[in-house]
């Protein structure tokens, strides 16, 4: 039960010979709710894509459920970062969610009644069932985010990997979303990429700061030293220390 779900050992990755990740070690155990925090360009999304097998490391190893990435992808629910691509694509909300039930070599067979039931459950969970027949491209940012989380959830994954799930939604909905994730975390291990320290620190169980290197912290307590390591470029002020942790950056990041 307590075997690690994800094990990253001495991982190196570079893009066009510019190093992106160096000497990364990270172990994720079942039941964890871990946030990958760090500045833009720090390598958070890259690390997630390496774990998913979408990118191949230069050196080092990654094991997901004891296997190389890509071998057990049906046990992972994934939500990519950029969701506002191709807004004119003719696809309904329900069909987007059903995509999460895709299996290799399915061939002629279409989605079953069971798949549709699962899609209904996931959409209801994200309170998007009423939108099932709408075109996905017509949704607002927050609504789109929720259907993509439903798509990640529909196959009842053991791990949920979400890349910037709060990128285009307002603060109230961000908190709602993290409340939902906290609830899901009772049964599912969650890895979430974010650059928003505030929202994350009050909801997650552990934090990994990603800025070329990875610093893992077994609790969500965010301290000055950790932030400075992660955000070397911009000075950070730790305003209040207690529960919940509130952290303010000295200047706003402009995205």
């Amino acid at each position: 039960m307590n075997d690690p779900i994800i094990e990253v050992r001495d991982l190196w990755f570079s893009f066009n010979s510019i190093p992106v990740l160096k000497e990364v070690n990270l172990t994720v155990r079942p039941g964890n709710f871990i946030a990958l925090l760090g500045p833009n360009g720090g390598g958070k999304t890259t690390l997630l894509k390496l774990m998913l097998g979408l990118l191949i490391p230069d050196r080092g190893s990654i094991k997901i459920f004891g296997q190389p990435p890509g071998k057990s992808s049906h046990r992972i629910g994934y939500m990519p970062q950029h969701l506002h691509f191709n807004q004119s694509f003719p696809i309904s909300v329900l069909d987007v969610v059903l995509m999460g039930k895709l299996r290799p070599g399915r061939g002629w067979s279409r989605y079953s009644h069971k798949d549709r039931m699962a899609a209904e459950k996931a959409l209801k969970q994200m309170e998007m069932w009423d939108f099932r027949n709408r075109r996905a491209g017509e949704l607002s940012g927050g609504q789109a985010q929720r259907i993509f989380i439903a798509r990640a959830l529909v196959d009842e994954p053991e791990v949920l990997m979400l890349d910037e799930p709060t990128a285009s939604i307002d603060t109230k909905h961000q908190t709602d979303l993290f409340d939902i994730l906290k609830e899901l975390n009772k049964t599912v291990t969650i890895i979430v990429v974010s650059h928003d320290v505030g929202i994350v620190s009050s909801h997650v169980k552990s934090v990994a700061c990603v800025n070329q290197q990875v610093f893992y912290h077994d609790d969500a307590e965010i301290n000055q030293e950790m932030l400075e390591m992660a955000y070397q470029c911009c000075p950070v002020e730790l305003v209040a220390h207690g529960m919940p942790h509130r952290v303010l950056l000295k200047h706003e990041e402009d995205d």
């Binding site: 506002h84 191709n86 004119s88 696809i91 995509m99 895709l102 290799p104």
Partner: protein, 275 residues
């Protein structure tokens, strides 16, 4: 129109139009949603090299265009996967080199080169029955492949990373898609010629996209539109003694602008949803 149907070439022209409409609807839909219009144009023009090869070595034209278009498509698949950031430049180079190869091989071929215009602007009125059978087979293959991999192609077109995480063989499907684009292009060249092929491959899906709730509907609607364009174009070209390929494209072009106008009336701005 009906008295024209007593001629075999007219019946063949109609059948050829209907058959290529299948490829236009199905593959054109993928070309538009995957934004590989430029790449498809590259395949179409580079296929001229295949015409040159066929002339030079005395092969049947179908073998030349189909074979060469397939080879070019596979090269483009490799290039666009390996060097995404410069893929448009490389497509442009292949586009021009293929055509140049064709022209030079035709220069070197002995004898008078008959009716090259028909390759540039199509020759729907000169489709032999044997070509119709070939089109039938090619369309059958395309429908089989797309039917079998429909959900995989849908995921690949919509969200490639997600598709790959779900275990879809995205690279294999990408090669398969470009191979089918090459087959379709080779067929459509017969109808409207290589210069106009992109119009027939993209105008029907572009119009259909706005009125379709799914990729499946978009394919069906594009097929119907493409049928209408080829039939109407053929009839007008027969009635007014015009070049058939150009007339077909003109019908499609006029419908394209009419659809843009309706879109403008509906939403108050052009290209409002193009993103």
């Amino acid at each position: 129109m009906f008295e024209a149907l007593q001629f075999e070439f007219m019946r063949n022209a109609l059948l050829a139009g209907l058959l290529t409409s299948i490829a236009c609807g199905v593959i054109g839909t993928f070309v538009v949603v995957n934004r590989i219009v430029f790449l498809s144009g590259g395949i179409a023009h580079a296929a001229y090299g295949g015409i040159g090869l066929a002339f030079f070595f005395g092969l049947p034209f179908v073998v030349g265009t189909l074979g060469f278009a397939l080879v070019v498509a596979m090269v483009m698949a490799v290039v666009t996967l390996k060097a995404r950031h410069r893929s448009d430049t490389i497509i442009g180079v292949l586009w021009a080199s293929g055509m140049a190869l064709g022209v030079i091989l035709l220069d070197l071929s002995p004898g008078y080169n008959v009716d090259l215009m028909s390759f540039l602007f199509g020759s729907i009125l000169a489709v032999p029955t044997s070509d119709l059978w070939l089109m039938l087979v090619l369309n059958g293959l395309i429908l089989l492949a797309v039917g079998y991999f429909y959900n995989d192609f849908l995921a690949l077109s919509y969200d490639e990373d997600f598709a790959q995480v779900r275990g879809v063989r995205v690279k294999f499907l990408y090669f398969l898609l470009l191979a089918m684009v090459a087959l379709s292009v080779a067929m459509i060249i017969r109808i409207v010629g290589l210069i106009l092929v992109i119009a027939l491959l993209t105008i029907p899906p572009y119009i259909a996209e706005k009125y379709s709730a799914s990729l499946r509907t978009m394919m069906l609607l594009s097929f119907l539109l493409s049928c209408f364009f080829t039939m109407a174009g053929l009839w007008i070209s027969y009635a007014f003694n015009l070049t058939s390929g150009a007339t077909i494209i003109m019908v499609a072009g006029v419908c394209f602008f009419i659809s843009l106008f309706f879109e403008f009336l509906k939403s108050g701005s052009l290209f409002s949803r193009g993103n």
